[in-house]
């Protein structure tokens, strides 16, 4: 309040001096206008800069009319404030523009991030989907394999069951053992198959054809202890070979079947009685356990 009153006194005192010097307010107003004109305000709010210019013109006119007058000082003060006002409004508009463009940029970035996240989610979902598909495929493949294996086992079991009608079948640690009575297959001392034996061996061949591809079959020939070891060995081998040949003739894969003569080395019963010797004269068809079945258990 006091400063304003002093300003008034000063302004009132000036005309008395009759000086042509501009009032300090007019000096300030000129400077403020020059700043406003040289600033962004001239571009952003030209109408306000023009208003400041008109206010300055009024102050200059007052100065020309009565230098240092109260009117000059006040109009110059107003002109200076109008120049400042123009700059303040330019500041508002520019800050507003900055804010709008920052917000637009913000939106763009958010959109970018969202798109990136969505893309990534999509990829993850695709990967998940194909992984699930793969698992499903593998699962059905496995089911298919198990089903095939089960069928094969069932066929083999059925074939073995039908075999039991014509031969003795026994599961042992060395495999499934089909024992054929020697007397039924061969004449004493010979290795030619008897006609009656062919029917039985046809059953065996049928059962063997149901086996897995990788299964091994061994045909073992056995004799009793009468005669020399060498003769018995040779006879048992010849008989095993004869049985093997016939089985192959009946359709069994030659690669899966081998023949071995065991001679009199592995008797099942005593060789001291006719019954015991009859039991020892035999041909065994041994089906080795399947690797596939073994692996599954």
């Amino acid at each position: 309040m006091k400063t304003v009153s002093i300003a008034f006194l000063a302004a009132l005192a000036l005309p008395a001096c009759a000086s042509s010097q501009p009032t300090p307010q007019l000096v300030d107003a000129r400077m403020a206008y020059a700043r406003a004109q040289g600033s962004h305000a001239n571009v952003v709010v030209p109408d306000r800069v023009l208003t400041a210019k008109q206010a300055l013109d009024d102050a200059e006119e007052a100065h020309a009319d009565a230098p240092g007058s109260f009117r000059e000082a006040n109009l110059a003060y107003i002109a200076e404030r109008k120049a400042l006002l123009a700059m303040a409004h330019a500041g508002i508009q520019m800050a507003e523009r900055d804010r709008v463009s920052a917000e637009e940029l913000h939106k763009e970035r958010q959109q970018e991030l969202r798109e990136r996240a969505e893309k990534s989610l999509e990829n993850t979902q695709d990967n998940l989907h194909s992984a699930r598909q793969q698992i499903a495929d593998q699962g059905s493949e496995l089911v298919e394999k198990q089903r095939a294996l089960t069928k094969a086992e069932q066929r083999a079991a059925a074939a073995l069951a039908s075999l039991e009608e014509v031969a003795k079948v026994k599961a042992e640690s060395r495999g499934m053992v089909i024992t054929l009575d020697g007397a039924v297959l061969f004449t004493t001392g010979k290795s030619e198959l008897l006609p009656i034996s062919r029917e039985k061996l046809a059953h065996v061949a049928k059962a063997l054809q149901e086996l897995e591809d990788d299964q091994r079959v061994v045909v073992e020939g056995h004799t009793d202890s009468r005669g020399t070891d060498e003769l018995n060995q040779a006879l048992s081998q010849a008989r095993a070979d004869a049985v093997r040949s016939y089985l192959i003739e009946e359709g069994v894969d030659a690669d899966m079947i081998t023949a071995v003569g065991r001679g009199e080395t592995q008797p099942l019963a005593t060789n001291d009685t006719p019954e015991g010797r009859a039991n020892n004269r035999r041909v065994e068809v041994i089906i080795k356990p399947s690797d596939k079945v073994a692996a599954r258990q």
């Binding site: 006040n74 003060y77 404030r81 409004h89 500041g91 800050a95 900055d98 920052a102 913000h106």
Partner: protein
């Protein structure tokens, strides 16, 4: 003729003011409402806003005194000054707010950029 009428009007106004309670001139009302507008946006909280608000209020007080001293012409100039000070206080406050908002928006963009 027009000037004469205005002068007569001015005399009439002064006569009425001297009669009983003084009727404030329209420029007084305008300056006062500009001060209130600046106060409403919180010009007081900004140093430059507070300065121009004070100058505007002082101007109004000076004008009142000038009116009482029969200096209505000077009072008009002082009121015009007061009004432009109040307007400046308001504009400076808006400017500070707009700049702060722009800064906040930019900071948000930078923050988002940082997560890339």
């Amino acid at each position: 003729m027009k000037m004469l009428l205005l002068k007569l009007g001015g005399v009439g106004l002064l006569a009425a003011a001297c009669g009983s309670t003084a009727m404030p001139p329209p420029s007084m009302t305008e300056a006062q409402s500009s001060v209130r507008a600046a106060e409403a946006v919180g010009a007081e909280s900004l140093p430059r806003g507070a300065l121009h608000l004070k100058l505007a209020r002082d101007g109004i007080e000076d004008a009142k005194r000038l009116i009482a001293d029969d200096e209505s012409e000077k009072a008009e100039l002082v009121l015009e000054r007061a009004e432009v000070d109040a307007e400046l206080a308001l504009a400076l406050t808006y400017e500070a707010k707009a700049r702060a908002e722009a800064q906040t928006a930019l900071a948000e963009v930078r923050e988002l950029g940082g997560t890339n």
